[in-house]
Amino acid sequence: MIAYVMGVMPFLWQGLLVTLAVSGLVVASSLVTGVLCGIGLVYGRWWISWPIRIYSDILRGTPLIVLIFLIIYGLPLLGVDFGNYGSAVIALAAFKTAHVAEIARGAIQSIHFGQTDAGKAIGLTFRQRLQYVIMPQAVRRFLPPWINAVADAVKGSALVSLAGIVDLTLAVQQVIGRTYDPLPMYLLGAAMYFIINYSLSLTSRRLEARFAYIRE
């Protein structure tokens, strides 16, 4: 068993790094764009919030695989080509942005408007209200669903294998393609994805504990 795992690990190692890199890029970029979009959804004027609403509804209602192929094969027809790796990362990040925006919107809206009123009453500006009143409370409600979304992004990154990018999934398939022995490889692949995602959810629990304070 251990000998088997050790024997195939060199072939999976590079793929694992690609999976981690793709997931990391997608999570980081969608966190920034998603939270900004979420704030825009809640506080933006109509010309900010409507486009975000339309974007978010369309992206969340489109299968991810369709979006990936659209960016890989559709954009080059218009003269824009990010390459397969870039296209796949952009597609995943665009998709995740829509989800994170909704998570952020929910987290912000769940903070009672009395908090905003209180902030206004003591003369805080909009930025200060966000920074000191709303966000510290919203973060706690944002974290659990966001970690779910991150785990989803890690699993969703397996779709880049269809674009010919050798991530963990394609690396597993490459070994199967040589040995014609699928079962142990699928189990090993599943175990590796599980280890990544389980350590994410452990991190999540620690983060939640860290932010579960109430400042007196």
Binding site: F11, L170, G177, Y180
Partner: protein, 302 residues
């Protein structure tokens, strides 16, 4: 009142400007079309692009032995890769050793579903990925001459009850055959084993897995895969000896580039029938465990 005429004339001027714009637009469109036509009448062939680039961009896969897969050292190899090597050797005059040829190729790994899109969007110069020639596909891409005729064969296990095609036929309904799920998978099995029970599975690897675990007595799979498995595991697998159904495997290119297509065909003809058959023959023996027929001088059989 004196304002009126001026207003009218201003409006007329505006219309005139509009008319001028329209005329200019039509003229511009005319030149554009002419430019386009000129570009279409003498397109730059991929052949020239590849030669000046010094590298051939080949679309292929990495998950199907013996066609395109990673060997124990993690290097891409297989019959498709050998064909790419033949082209690189022909293009850049190498051919002395595999490393030198392969250094002139950039492989773009792709899913089989991406074979045609990657050609039409120009992401690759050529696709060499066990692509079956069909009239429907030939409407979208240009196919080279075939470099292999794939068939169907019946793999059996050395531990199984039935080993040869005759034993399987004699077993009748008692024989179970696993096969890759497909619209005509039942008929496919029936053409080889008319009475056998059919077990359809989602991948070819799982069809073989069923044979390993004893859930089926025979796996109906590609002839090339049978050759590969029997060569790799002679004490585990057997070729039951019956081969049937044919399909042509060709390289595929963009349409509308006769120079490139003609060059690829010429290069493959020389590599399969001419004086430079070393790479093809070595790959044929390595991946299919058999040898191409001896070439006979005299009347050309191609």
């Amino acid at each position: 009142m004196s304002e009126r005429p001026r207003e009218t004339s201003a409006r007329r001027d505006f219309l005139k400007i509009g008319g001028l714009g329209l005329a200019a637009g039509i003229a511009a469109a005319g030149t554009l079309n002419a430019q386009k036509a000129a570009a279409q009448s003498a397109p730059a062939s991929v052949l020239r692009t590849v030669l000046s680039r010094g590298k051939l961009i080949v679309g292929t896969g990495s998950t199907n032995a013996p066609w395109h897969f990673e060997n124990d050292k993690g290097e891409l190899t297989g019959m498709d890769i050998a064909v790419a090597r033949i082209l690189a050797a022909g293009l850049f005059g190498a051919g002395r050793d595999a490393k030198e040829d392969l250094s002139k190729i950039e492989f773009v790994k792709q899913d089989p579903a991406s074979r045609i899109p990657n050609i039409t969007t120009g992401k690759v110069d050529i696709v060499i990925q066990f692509m079956t020639v069909s009239p429907a596909r030939a409407q979208l891409v240009a196919f080279s001459r075939p470099y292999y005729v794939e068939g169907v064969a019946i793999l059996t296990s050395s531990k199984g009850k039935f080993k040869t095609h005759k034993e399987l036929i004699d077993a009748g309904r008692n024989a179970k055959a696993s096969v890759l799920q497909n619209v005509d998978a039942d008929q496919l099995v029936a053409r080889g084993l008319p009475q056998a029970q059919v077990m359809q599975l989602d991948t070819q690897a799982n069809a073989i897995q069923a044979l390993d675990s004893g859930r089926s007595d025979a796996a109906v799979i590609d002839l090339s895969t049978v050759g590969w498995l029997v060569k790799r595991n002679p004490d585990k697998y057997l070729d039951s000896g019956f081969h049937y159904d044919t399909q042509l495997y060709s390289a595929a290119m963009r349409q509308g580039d006769p120079d490139w297509l003609q060059w690829v065909d010429t290069c493959l003809n020389v590599a399969m029938h001419g004086h430079q058959t070393q790479i093809y023959d070595a790959a044929f023996e390595e991946f299919f465990a058999s040898q191409p027929p001896r070439r006979v001088p005299g009347f050309p059989k191609i």
